[in-house]
């Protein structure tokens, strides 16, 4: 195939996949009061306004909290699990792997509903806690998968060498294993963070007064308002995600791990 055809096909595909982002970036720059394209005049007012909307501030904080601490909790559970499966003869290891990876198979909306109905309502657990637990469980499979990948690339005899030089099992893990899977752990954190931050279905049913994740809040906002602020916010979030992934790729070679 010749070069012209190649670039024409790629150009069209990329326009379809990435063009819409350029459009929301521009739509957010509107000076008018309702969403339109091309925008009515150019201003930064909507980009500034999104920082002053109180519900956005609260839900952004909530999403940040979930993404950071949910991912940390998932790593806290996932790293030992991945290590255990990689290094020990665990009875029923395949079963454990299946259970731990089940959150990938079950659509999030169902999990959110089930947790609302059988955890939040009967036990009176707060929605924020339920959200945290749900996000942790959701990220767990990614944490296990990425960390397992790193561990598979780490030779077991390095740990044995550490044992012979005086380490305990635990000591060998801290001194030799962890420093060498740091990249994988960091990649798992970034993947978990982005996944949690962008997650909608799990959080659909798990929202209450003042407790909402940012994406849910954006959907709720756009049901009532037809102004460009969600466009501005979407553009900012897109830039944030892309920035994180770009930095991760540059400093870490992110794509090696996921």
């Amino acid at each position: 195939m010749n070069r012209v055809a190649t670039w024409a096909i790629l150009g069209l595909t990329l326009t379809f996949l990435i063009g819409p982002f350029l459009i929301i970036v521009i739509a957010g720059l509107s000076a008018g009061d309702s969403l339109a394209f091309p925008p009515q005049g150019i201003s930064l007012k909507w980009y500034i306004k999104v920082f002053t909307v109180e519900s956005f501030q609260a839900s952004f904080a909530m999403s940040m909290f979930l993404a950071i601490f949910g991912t940390l909790a998932a790593l806290l559970l996932g790293i030992p699990a991945a290590y255990g499966m990689a290094r020990y003869r665990v009875p029923g290891a395949e079963f454990v792997r299946l259970i731990v990876s089940s959150p990938i198979i079950v659509p999030g909306i169902i999990v959110g509903l089930a947790l609302l109905r059988y955890l939040v309502i009967p036990t009176g657990v707060s929605i924020a806690l339920a959200l945290f637990l749900a996000h942790t469980a959701l990220i767990l499979p990614y944490a296990v998968r990425v960390v397992s990948g790193s561990l598979d690339n780490l030779r077991v005899d390095m740990e044995e060498a550490a044992l012979l030089l005086g380490c305990s099992r635990m000591g060998a893990f801290w001194r030799v294993v962890l420093p060498n899977i740091r990249g994988g752990v960091l990649a798992a954190f970034i993947l978990g963070f982005v996944t949690s931050f962008n997650q909608v279905p799990v959080s659909l049913f798990l929202s209450g007064p003042g407790v909402r994740t940012l994406p849910i809040d954006m959907i709720a906002y756009m049901e009532i308002n037809y102004d460009p602020s969600v466009a501005a916010l979407s553009a900012l979030l897109a830039v944030m995600s892309v920035g994180i992934v770009f930095a991760a790729e540059k400093f870490l070679g992110f794509s090696r791990y996921v």
Binding site: D157, M158, E160, L163, L164, L165, G166
Partner: protein
């Protein structure tokens, strides 16, 4: 003191699979022992058990009079140089060598690390990372890392297998020198009989999880006791005898061109100074060679040969 290290009725298993069956072995202090055998013979498994990385199913291991069978690897005063070297990639050469000493809170750390690096000729490489070193250098770091701990026994897993021919010779001399200087008892594992012959004071030849023969390189080379041992050291023609036992000849000991027997040439190959032949004979397969100045024989050709009794070794079993 010929029982510095003893293995008594040692049985080792991976899950239900028995890899080494009731092995008995005594090693003297300062000895350089080779565990020799093909892959799967249990030599590496035995070494791992001595290091404490594989708990024995039964039997005991003692080192310097102390029963270490149930001790953790760290408490055995044993060093191990892994086949892959197993250096810590995130630590510098210096920190790799200092690793065990730090855990031990060694007061004299810097002197010992520098000394260890000097011993293996890597004093100038302290700040490098393992990834920046050649294979041979990495192995010497691994050696230094074990030696600075002043182990009672140093185990080496296939120490020469990852090196090219020139480095192999260098490392062989290095190991002998270290052994002379430190007097440490060394046990190394290898599948290469030439390597074992060249390095070891005593060779433990293993097969299928059991010891086939123990002896000095000369003993094993000149007086193998079994068919397996004989084949391993180059007695390639092995004939079972009616009265039990067997006789074995090296290819050079077989007389070609005259003699009471006849055989058909099945394979012929040129090997520099010799020509090597495989003969099909009524007695069995015979492997022979001749100097190159003897004219070559063709495949399919019938040839007379003799198996002189005085050049055969007598084996207890084929």
């Amino acid at each position: 003191m010929s029982d510095f290290v003893t293995l008594a009725d040692l049985t080792l298993a991976y899950g239900p699979t028995v890899a080494v069956d009731r092995l008995n072995l005594s090693i003297a202090q300062g000895e350089l022992i080779a565990l020799l055998g093909p892959s799967g013979c249990g030599k590496t498994t035995t070494m791992r058990a001595i290091a404490g990385l594989l708990p024995p199913k039964s039997g005991t291991i003692t080192i310097d009079g102390r029963d270490v069978t149930r001790l953790a690897p760290a408490k055995r005063e044993v060093g191990l140089v892994f086949q892959s070297y197993a250096l810590f990639p995130h630590l510098s050469v210096y920190d790799n060598v200092a690793f065990g000493l730090r855990l031990r809170r060694e007061p004299d750390l810097d002197t010992k690390v520098r000394g260890g690096l000097a011993t293996v000729g890597l004093a100038d490489f302290a700040a490098r990372l393992p990834a920046d070193l050649s294979g041979g250098q990495q192995q010497r770091v691994a050696l230094a890392r074990s030696l600075v701990m002043q182990p009672k026994v140093l185990l080496l897993d296939e120490p020469l297998s990852n090196l090219d021919a020139r480095l192999r010779l260098e490392m062989r001399m290095e190991l002998q020198r270290v052994q002379q200087e430190t007097g440490v008892t060394m046990i190394f594992v290898t599948h290469d009989q030439a390597e074992a012959m060249a390095l070891a004071d005593r060779i433990v030849l293993m097969k299928d999880g059991a010891i086939e023969q123990i002896g000095s390189p000369e003993q094993i080379y000149t007086a193998p006791e079994t068919g397996f041992a004989a084949d391993f050291v180059g007695f390639e023609t092995i004939l079972r005898q009616d009265e039990g036992g067997a006789l074995a000849w090296r290819p050079g000991a077989v007389v070609l061109g005259s003699g009471p027997h006849n055989g058909t040439v099945r394979g012929a190959s040129f090997a520099g100074e010799r020509r090597e032949y495989v003969l099909d004979t009524p007695l069995g397969v015979v492997k022979a060679d001749t100097p190159v100045d003897v004219p070559a024989m063709k495949i399919g050709q019938t040839v007379a040969f003799d198996l002189p009794r005085d050049r055969a070794v007598r084996l207890a079993r084929a």
